[in-house]
């Protein structure tokens, strides 16, 4: 009810007024921030929640008896409760805070993988993965003598080939790790279907939600995955904090990866008993301010509504794809505007003859922040798309059509500077 109401009144200008950086200038021009797949901007509510913690109730969490320690503990735990609700986990026991998505995946590769992946076992990932969901598995495979397999992309070079998935599952992989949304192509993978297929073959499933959780409703129980990972800084929260969701029974059986304070129940000179979930996996003082800031970010996202955010991004992505497709000598990657249901707000592109770093530099001179490079997905960009690098625009809830227009003007400036066409 509340969300439907918000949807009708989705007010970009009001949202923008919450983000102080969006009224600043870069190189003398009003900042147009189109690098949201790398990191998002932060609203005042998040910045103030962090500042407020440090100013008024800074204390270490857990065992403190005094009031501000209790307050800090509550705020940190509350943030997990909020995140558990946001992704529909069964409870905050299933939410482990990490530094970021990368660390969350590493915990699974080291903890679960270290104990369960044996010589000759198969690990299945896809050709679409970010390095964070590729390198930990490559290392695990090398360490334990396992085989790393890849689900291929189909002929469109935009989607996973479901035939390839079926074939690879015949190897009976122990774990399948797949990205929910590609940070290069924007493709939304059918992770529910993939999870079901993988489970049919007895595999455990990890979904990398770094690019999905910030932009759409996520329901880990509906997906059915065993692990789900995300980063706070891509969803309006601070850097330095991310999360690993894991099904209770799996996390419960896993040994911790990092050890020390806070993650134990009791220690003798000869033995140790692990703390309850989720604390078993959080050794040492965590990023308390980060957790609190993340909680404020989740409040902010809920205030707008994930469905409204997704609808807004669909609209602006459609507008951008239409605008860009009309520009000569410019090529976009990933699914087109007719496939918005299967596509997030990430648009990679290249301009004939011009290196993406030069494109990005000209955009910078116009006050527009975009990213250029292999986007931490070198095998995808180089071996599948056949480019050494591409430029990338990525949207969030505060972007508006006039910013797309400015990006399109910058493309014309690139073409003029480099005498394209």
């Amino acid at each position: 009810m509340k969300q439907d109401n918000m949807h009708e009144t989705f007010d970009v200008e009001r949202i923008r007024s919450d983000f102080p950086i969006l009224s600043t200038k870069m190189n003398g021009k009003p900042l147009v921030y189109l690098d949201n797949a790398a990191t998002s901007q932060k609203p005042n509510q998040v910045i103030e929640s962090i500042s407020n913690y440090y100013r008024t109730y800074n204390a270490n969490i857990h065992r403190g008896i005094y009031a501000i320690a209790v307050e800090a503990t509550d705020a940190y735990v509350d943030s997990k409760v909020k995140l558990a609700k946001l992704v529909n986990a069964k409870g905050m026991e299933e939410i482990i805070y990490t530094r970021n998505t990368t660390e969350a995946i590493n915990i699974v590769a080291l903890g679960w993988g270290g104990a369960n992946i044996k010589q000759g076992d198969h690990i299945l990932i896809t050709q679409m993965e970010h390095h964070s969901n590729l390198v930990p598995w490559m290392l695990l495979a090398r360490r334990n003598g396992a085989v790393l397999d890849y689900v291929k992309l189909d002929e469109s070079k935009s989607m996973l080939d479901m035939q390839s998935l079926e074939e690879q599952l015949e190897n009976e992989p122990k774990i399948v790790a797949v990205t929910h949304v590609s940070n290069v192509l924007g493709t939304i993978n059918d992770v529910k279907h993939i999870t079901r297929k993988a489970h049919d073959h007895g595999a455990v499933v990890l979904v990398d939600g770094a690019q999905s959780a910030p932009h759409m409703q996520v329901d880990v129980q509906d997906i059915g995955c065993d692990f789900f990972t995300l980063s706070s800084h891509k969803m309006l929260g601070p850097t330095g904090i991310g999360a690993l969701y894991g099904k209770f029974d799996i996390l419960d059986k896993m040994d911790p990866v990092l050890s020390g304070g806070d993650m134990i129940k009791s220690v003798t000179f000869s033995d140790v008993t692990w703390n309850d979930l989720p604390w078993k996996f959080e050794a040492g003082t965590p990023d308390i301010a980060g957790g609190i800031g993340f909680g404020a970010a989740i409040d902010y996202l809920n205030g707008i509504g994930m469905k409204s955010i997704r609808d807004h991004e669909k609209k602006i992505t459609k507008y951008a794809l239409e605008k860009l497709s009309g520009i000569k000598h410019l090529k976009t990657y990933g699914l087109g505007k007719e496939d918005l249901e299967r596509r997030g707000g990430v648009i990679s592109f290249s301009i004939d003859k011009v290196h993406p770093h030069d494109v990005s530099q000209v955009f910078d001179s116009e006050g527009i922040a975009i990213r250029a490079g292999h986007h931490c997905a070198m095998p995808l960009v180089e071996e599948i798309l056949g480019e050494s690098a591409v430029s990338r625009i990525s949207f969030y809830l505060y972007n508006k059509e006039s910013e797309v227009d400015r990006a399109a003007q910058a493309v014309e400036l690139v073409k003029k500077t480099f005498k394209v066409g």
Partner: protein, 134 residues
């Protein structure tokens, strides 16, 4: 760093690089790669004792890296190996005529690093720290 990075001579060197191509009978050569950009360059040297009599480069990259390679190879022709050993960041900024700024410095210095590594390799010397930091 605004558009002056794309001064006319940088763009024209990028479009029509000098000394581009492979040298089959090179006395010294070195291949280098900038992973963050995907820039890739090989520099070839023809030597007469310690003088560079001819120089070529082959590679792909952004305007800054290709134009720098084009201008550097022009500059290096006729220089001695000792001259090359003494080249540094200031040399390359002087050659291209602008400071590319921290985000693009690696693009500008890739060709110089490659040239110096080719020379050090030819001389059976370990590249010095300054060269490796380019």
């Amino acid at each position: 760093m605004a558009l002056d990075l794309y001064a006319e001579d940088i763009v024209s060197h990028y479009e029509h690089p000098h000394n581009a191509g492979v040298m089959k009978d090179a006395d010294a050569s070195f291949h280098n790669y900038n992973a963050s950009c995907g820039d890739d360059i090989t520099i070839y040297l023809k030597l007469d004792k310690d003088k560079i009599t001819d120089i070529k480069f082959k590679g792909t990259g952004c305007a800054v890296s290709v134009a720098s390679a084009s201008m550097l190879t022009d500059f290096a022709k006729g220089k001695s190996l000792k001259d090359v050993e003494g080249m540094n960041v200031k040399t390359i900024i002087g050659i291209i005529g602008i400071d590319p700024g921290p985000a693009r410095l690696k693009c500008a210095t890739l060709s110089l690093r490659t040239l110096k590594e080719a020379v050090f390799l030819y001389e059976h010397k370990e590249a010095d720290r300054e060269t490796k930091a380019l």
